[in-house]
Symmetry: C2
Subunit: 180 residues, 2 copies
């Protein structure tokens, strides 16, 4: 696929084929995190690769049981990636926040998340980004230590089918020229 086709055809995928994802494929996805840019190259990311069904079940329990379309995907996906980051590194200069936004961990993990989503899609893998869950409960289940935040969980597997895209704003709606 052409690069822009990969960007434009990536969808949230919540149903997967009964087909494993090789460790080589997982590492290729992680290589896209490794090569992502980050604040002053701080690389605050830490990724947990979950294949254990019991762990997936525990993590699923941190989602609201109703209203989250990714609830089932947490246990049916062959792999769930936990996107974590070290606090107070990105956005910091020595021990102080360098901007009014404080910790840039969310920004850098957003960058890493898009690397994961696009790279997975380029390999024929589907992903869905899960952000709505009890982060402390999930972090405790996965043994995430103090000083590290678990921010997003990404079920990943070969898509059963691809969906139609949700509607998007036109470029004109969010583009401004020279000033807002």
């Amino acid at each position: 696929m052409e690069f822009m086709e990969i960007v434009k055809t990536r969808r949230s995928i919540r149903k997967y084929l009964d087909k494993d994802v090789s460790d080589e494929a997982v590492n290729q996805v992680l290589a896209s995190v490794q090569w992502s840019p980050s604040w002053a190259n701080t690389q605050c990311w830490e990724i947990v690769v979950v294949r254990d069904p019991a762990m997936k079940k525990k993590l699923q329990a941190s989602l609201p049981p109703k209203g989250n379309p990714a609830f089932k995907a947490m246990v049916t996906a062959p792999v769930v990636l936990l996107v974590c980051g070290k606090k107070q590194t990105s956005g910091y200069y020595k021990r102080d926040a360098a901007t009014k936004f404080g910790d840039w961990i969310m920004f850098d993990l957003g960058i890493a998340t898009q690397s994961i989503c696009l790279t997975a899609h380029s390999m024929g893998l589907g992903t869905v980004v899960v952000g709505l869950f009890d982060h402390d409960k999930a972090g405790e289940a996965a043994g995430v230590p103090d000083g590290i935040e678990l921010v997003a969980m990404i079920p990943m597997g070969y898509p059963e089918k691809s969906g139609s895209p949700p509607s998007r704003k036109s470029i004109e709606e969010f583009r401004h020229d020279d000033r807002f």
Copy 2:
């Protein structure tokens, strides 16, 4: 280029050829924002495309004059993209923050930023993400209204040359299996 080659060879570019970036090229980069995933498809992004030299100069004045390697790039790049977002949409359910992280604006703008960086690179364009500046001063210069945050500025142009990559952690350093 292969997709992974685009991911692995993208560098921060701070010196540009004296060559304009067409409006068509800018819109192709913005299409990658348009197709980025976001919290519940909220698409909180707003992008200002700055070509006006006087505006670049004003924005540059919000950077610390020393120690920021992107200082010159703010005025020498043919285009500077201002990555802005609407507050209290991403991460919110109705009027309340849905997680302990509050506003996910930084996460979604991180996603959009990586879309910009990778798409630009796939088109032969160089970018550098600038996060260290006085955000209120820059926002005021660009006329960013209340309720919108200017988070990052991205000078963009055809690279004079590409640099060597800063060192990266190995995958083993940030990969964990089944639990942290």
